[in-house]
């Protein structure tokens, strides 16, 4: 499965909710304000650091750039919208709105 998360982890529990249900091997895609979870060294970085042990985690490149997020958590991958499409082709999607 592909799980999309579009909320800031500092303000909203969507990412935590997602990670509680996601099964090992599921893929997580961060987009919109969700990409703030991809930044290294923040008070919420541990969420993704833990998630990376069980999941591939992507963040939309254009959303990272828009927010000036330079240093990603090690193991995070950035994805273009085209790669987002590829992920959707490979997995059914649940949006954690």
């Amino acid at each position: 499965m592909l799980h999309t998360v579009n909320k800031s982890p500092f303000q909203n529990s969507a990412l935590e909710n997602c990670l509680r249900l996601a099964r090992a091997g599921d893929v997580i895609l961060l987009l919109e304000d969700g990409v703030y979870a991809a930044a290294a060294g923040t008070a919420k970085s541990s969420l993704i650091e833990q998630a990376l042990k069980r999941h591939a985690v992507y963040a939309i490149d254009a959303d990272l750039k828009a927010r000036g997020i330079g240093t990603l958590i090690k193991g995070m991958r950035s994805a273009s919208y085209g790669e987002f499409v590829d992920l959707v082709e490979q997995h059914p999607v649940h949006a954690w709105l």
């Binding site: 499965m1 249900l21 996601a22 099964r23 059914p92 999607v93 649940h94 954690w96 709105l97």
Partner: protein, 133 residues
């Protein structure tokens, strides 16, 4: 009809009344139930708050949707689940959640089925599509 079409799930994760998502989610359930799909509904996270008993929206000047939720089974929305941990965190008793219909024979109330997160996750993984609110 409990058709044999594609597996489609509706998830409700937002709290009721502060926004319209739960209500418009219920409208989706009602319509989808008339189509040839294998429909399931899951309440989790703040979505379980919609199942709290005794909700009365009169004081807000809005009709609310408790009547609709109570008639899900009548509308053939029968595969309805709720996440155990979400209920627990919100201090809602599993046997106290609202009923979504009645058993035609025994007149017993039918309630959403309480499941562990792992069961919900497994069910989610089997879906063709998931509509989330």
């Amino acid at each position: 009809m409990a058709g044999k079409g594609k597996k489609v799930m509706v998830t409700v994760r937002k709290a009721p009344h502060g926004s319209i998502y739960v209500q418009e989610g219920i409208e989706v359930m009602f319509i989808f139930a008339t189509y040839d799909m294998d429909l399931s509904v899951v309440f989790l996270d703040d979505g379980v708050l919609a199942l709290q008993p005794g909700q009365d929206t009169k004081g807000l000047g809005i009709k609310g949707f408790m009547a609709s939720l109570g008639a899900l089974v009548d509308w053939e929305v029968t595969n309805v689940y709720v996440d155990r941990q979400s209920l627990k965190e919100r201090n809602i008793a599993e046997d106290g959640i609202i009923s979504i219909g009645k058993n035609e024979d025994t007149d017993e109330p039918i309630r959403p089925k309480v499941l562990d997160s792992a069961d919900i996750a497994a069910m989610m993984a089997q879906q063709h599509s998931i509509v989330s609110f």
